[in-house]
Amino acid sequence: MRNGQIIKVFAQLRDLEIFDAEDQLCGIADDVELEGAPGGALRIAALLVGPGAYGARMPRILARGLQVVAGRSMVRVPWSAVDHVTSRIRLNKTARELGLLAFERRLQPLLRRIPLS
């Protein structure tokens, strides 16, 4: 997506892979936050990433089961951090700056103790 391009927010933005400024896969756009009042213009405020975001999109019982396993964490990626959208969402910041892949960063030191990792 470039300036002036029209996209369908829920068909062409939600559920796309997100790649950061270092071309690292850092999540999926699990939901989209909009801002604006009824009757006025709506703007995309942020992308929401994490089980806390997609839990709201599924039947409650399924969401509860998933959150027992995956938790309720959610990261809010401000729309200003999005550089462009094609078949993927490209960010202009790194995952670390935005708080994405926190789980990976916690696990990496543990796994790196194992040889050949």
Partner: protein, 412 residues
């Protein structure tokens, strides 16, 4: 020259990696029960896997989209999650069947306890996948699986009635047979389609395309790997069927264990044929165990957007690494429940075919989407074949469970 080597290696890898325990078992049982008359099912199903395999490789190369990332986008979150859960369960059951079969083959090759071999082989597979980059994983198991060509050599040595075998390539149905046989025949058609079109094949293949950073210039490799590689691999599966029709059918043997298949090479070639057959089966099953396990991990990681890929070190993709290690361990636990590999094969076959329409629909939709695929979107031939096979899959998926129940998994 480098391109030609890559194409040849891709084809050989596809041939060696085509047959796994479900295909091998059902090919042999189909031959022993119905002679050559189910060869057409392999031929038709192979065209299907070529069509969808090529599509998944093309989507990976052009849209850079792995199959399960498409799942959420095209099916929506809830239906996508259901498909994910079903696919992961099928992959784990299939992986367990492969690991169990490896244990059985090693027991026949060198003796020793079957469960002990299952534990040892799982450990070796985990170590192999941990330490090798993707290209090596795919190539090593695929090329070692070429030892299975001993079964094709056995076919030539045995010398079947080729005119009768060729007639088996014509789609047919035993209208004159008893109801019992007709139902069983129908079940075998379903089982063969399911075994050849296993969804993990496309998950693994398309994820592999992204692992290897495929682009537009790999489209020819993709076409040749799927077209030539899968076709030759299918001939190997057909060889198992033909050998069974010649050797087992007159004797009244229905191969119930993977080890019985090795008799197909032992009878014409003696001990060295037996050794080659057992080693070939071992490599084929090991390769399939790795594919199914990685497919389960790819599916979960791609669906939830975790960093994934064996082209990265395990420490760089912690959740993906835990997913595939966990998949191996869960599969081993399934083996330890004592359920026989053949029973696991039956369950994986019937559950897989029911998931197939959900798996291939997003692929068909995206392969037609010009906003992603541009000039590489499906042409008329790909669409006719894709939609045609999709309709066949729907029919087969609906018939699978009733036929499974009515025929007791093809045993009646």
């Amino acid at each position: 020259m480098g391109g030609l080597v890559e194409i040849l290696l891709g084809i050989m890898t596809a041939v060696g990696g085509f047959v796994e325990v479900s295909e091998a078992t059902f090919a042999a049982q189909a031959g022993s029960r119905f002679g050559y008359s189910l060869l057409w099912a392999f031929a038709v199903a192979t065209v299907g896997i070529i069509v969808f395999g090529e599509m998944s490789g093309r989507v990976a190369a052009i849209a850079k989209q792995p199959v399960f990332a498409l799942m959420r986008q095209r099916l929506g979150l809830t239906l996508g999650l259901f498909t994910l859960a079903a696919s992961v369960v099928v992959s784990l059951i299939t992986c367990a069947a492969e690991i169990g079969a490896i244990g059985l083959v090693l027991n026949l090759l060198v003796g020793g306890p079957y469960l002990g071999w299952a534990v040892l082989s799982t450990s070796v597979l985990i170590l192999t996948v941990w330490s090798m980059p993707f290209k090596w994983i795919e190539r090593v198991f695929g090329l070692l699986g070429l030892v299975m060509l001993i079964f094709a050599a056995a076919t030539l040595k045995i010398g079947p009635d080729w005119s009768q075998a060729l007639k088996g390539l014509v789609p047919q149905f035993p209208f004159e047979a008893s109801r019992t046989d007709q139902l069983a025949y129908g079940y075998f058609v379903v089982a063969i389609f399911s075994a050849v079109l296993f969804p993990f094949e496309t998950y693994f293949y398309s994820s592999g395309g992204i692992e290897e950073h495929w682009s537009k210039k790999h489209l020819m490799v993709n076409r040749l790997t799927t077209g030539v590689g899968f076709s030759l691999g299918s001939l190997l599966a057909m060889a198992l069927l033909i050998n069974s029709a010649v050797l087992f059918r007159p004797a009244g043997v229905d191969p119930q264990q993977p080890g019985t298949l090795a008799l197909q090479a032992a009878i014409p070639f003696g001990k060295w044929g037996l050794a080659a057959a057992l080693v070939g089966l071992l490599m084929a099953f090991a390769g399939a165990a790795v594919e199914t396990c990685l497919s389960a991990a790819y599916s979960v990681a791609q669906f939830f957007g975790w960093p994934w890929g064996r082209y990265k070190r395990p420490g760089e993709t912690p959740r993906f690494t835990l997913a595939w290690v966990g998949a191996f361990l869960v599969s081993l636990m399934i083996v330890f429940t004592g359920i026989e590999p053949l029973k696991l094969v039956e369950w994986s076959i019937v559950s897989s075919i029911m998931v197939l329409p959900l798996t291939y629909l997003p692929l068909l939709l995206l392969a037609n989407d010009r906003s992603y695929m541009r000039e590489h979107a499906n042409g008329p031939i790909a669409n006719v074949l894709g939609v045609g096979f999709y309709v066949i899959l729907l029919v087969v998926a609906v018939a699978a469970l009733p036929l499974f129940v009515l025929t007791a998994g093809g045993q009646r």
